[in-house]
């Protein structure tokens, strides 16, 4: 598990699962469909990603394709980092 995924799972467990175990959450499971985040949760998630990983996330990037599963978020963060590094 990458450091990004580890940090992300810890954040989800603490903030959206109220101390529950995020380790068992499948990477491709929809966080919305799972009832873990709502529209306010999306704002929390975006703030976390910006602060934890030093990202600037545009409004147009706040879409399910980037943020609705652990796999999508990890790919999104890795992609942002890769573009900054390039």
């Amino acid at each position: 598990m990458s450091a990004v995924e580890s940090d992300l799972r810890a954040f989800i467990a603490e903030n959206f699962m109220y101390g529950g175990d995020a380790a068992a959450l499948p990477t491709d499971r929809s966080l919305i469909d799972e009832g873990l985040i709502d529209s306010t949760g999306v704002l929390e998630l975006v703030s976390f990603l910006e602060e934890k990983f030093g990202l600037v996330i545009g409004d147009e990037e706040i879409v399910p394709a980037n943020l609705d599963s652990i796999a999508a978020i990890v790919a999104f963060v890795d992609g942002k980092h890769a573009r900054v590094a390039a």
Binding site: T40, E44, E60, V63
Partner: protein
């Protein structure tokens, strides 16, 4: 209407038709029994906002209890549209009920409502000051997440829209909720001094979707229109022949210093469309039928249904009674 625009055609509201006279008679009898026999109260108090819901609720209370047993409380604050007070008075005059004017601005100011809100706004817009205006709006949801944005207007009239942090959003909403809770406190003051019950004014869409403040406008001793779709509330208003200006006034939250419609803030579509989609969902109609009646595509109906389900889930705790252990 956010991600659903443009609607193909106007919604067909015939699904929501009801026998207004019979419903009014039924509700009058139920309110009378409920207030006097169950609650053991001799009348009803309610906040009058000049909107359709509170005016129809007042009219039903008058039909049930008599005009001399209904008191309307007018509660403007610093951000209120002056029309709310004017139309609230017009409603009371049309119904022949007593009103009490309670300017809650000083109480909110003393409790720090405006200062707290503005401090959270400044976390996003550092220049924001007392002479600025604001509101919260839903994003267009086109990408799939309908998150809220802060809209501010400077004293020179420049308007801008900003994404907020979750902390700022929650803080702004928490401060705004003080308005509804302050109003409810005053409604109960008058109810207690008179031995009356407090009437709540949510319609079915608002109640179902959690569009109320817990222990604020969500608090009441009885809620006589919580089973009625907003379209049906308008139909009762027509039957009661309530003032035309109230019947034609677009639904508003009247909570923010900038004008704001309910669909800008909370609902994904105009109330007529939401009513038809909610009715279809609750009565097991197919998306195809709902689409035809709502004037939407099937895909748009599915979007509205997902939004309804998401809001039910997100606001479930608002309906929960305190947990007892």
């Amino acid at each position: 209407m956010n991600a659903l625009a443009p609607a193909a055609r106007s919604p067909d509201l015939s699904l929501l038709a009801l026998d207004e006279a019979a419903e009014i008679a039924r509700l009058a009898a139920t309110i009378r029994t409920g207030v006097t026999q169950t609650l053991k109260r001799r009348g009803a108090v309610l906040g009058l906002s000049g909107g359709i819901d509170s005016t129809v609720t007042a009219a039903l209370c008058v039909a049930a209890l008599g005009a001399n047993r209904v008191v309307g409380v007018l509660m403007p604050e610093c951000d209120s549209d002056p029309d709310s007070l004017r139309l609230g008075r017009a409603a009371a005059e049309a119904l022949g009920i007593e009103t009490v004017l309670e300017d809650i601005g000083p109480a909110l100011d003393a409790a720090g409502c405006y200062q707290r809100r503005d401090a959270f706004i400044r976390a996003t817009v550092p220049d924001y000051g007392p002479d600025w205006k604001c509101k919260i709006v839903l994003g267009d949801g086109a990408g799939g997440f309908a998150i809220s944005y802060l809209v501010v207007e400077s004293p020179t009239g420049e308007r801008s829209q900003h994404r907020m942090s979750a902390d700022a959003y929650r803080g702004i909403i928490a401060a705004a909720n003080m308005k509804q809770r302050t109003r409810k406190q005053l409604e109960y003051f008058h109810a207690d001094r008179l031995g009356y019950a407090v009437a709540g004014t949510p319609n079915r869409l608002e109640y179902d979707q959690g569009f109320f403040v817990k222990n604020g406008d969500g608090a009441a001793d009885f809620k006589p229109i919580a089973h009625l779709y907003k379209t049906q509330v308008y139909a009762l208003a027509q039957h009661f022949d309530l003032p035309a200006e109230i019947r034609s006034r677009p639904p508003t939250t009247d909570t923010w210093s900038l004008p704001q419609s309910q669909e800008e803030f909370y609902f994904s579509a105009p109330y007529q469309v939401m009513d038809v989609c909610l009715f279809a969902l609750e009565n097991g109609l197919t998306a195809a039928i709902a689409a035809e009646r709502a004037g939407l595509t099937e895909e748009q109906v599915e979007t509205v249904w997902r939004d309804i389900a998401a809001k039910r889930k997100a606001t479930r705790y608002l309906h929960e009674a305190p947990l007892l252990f």
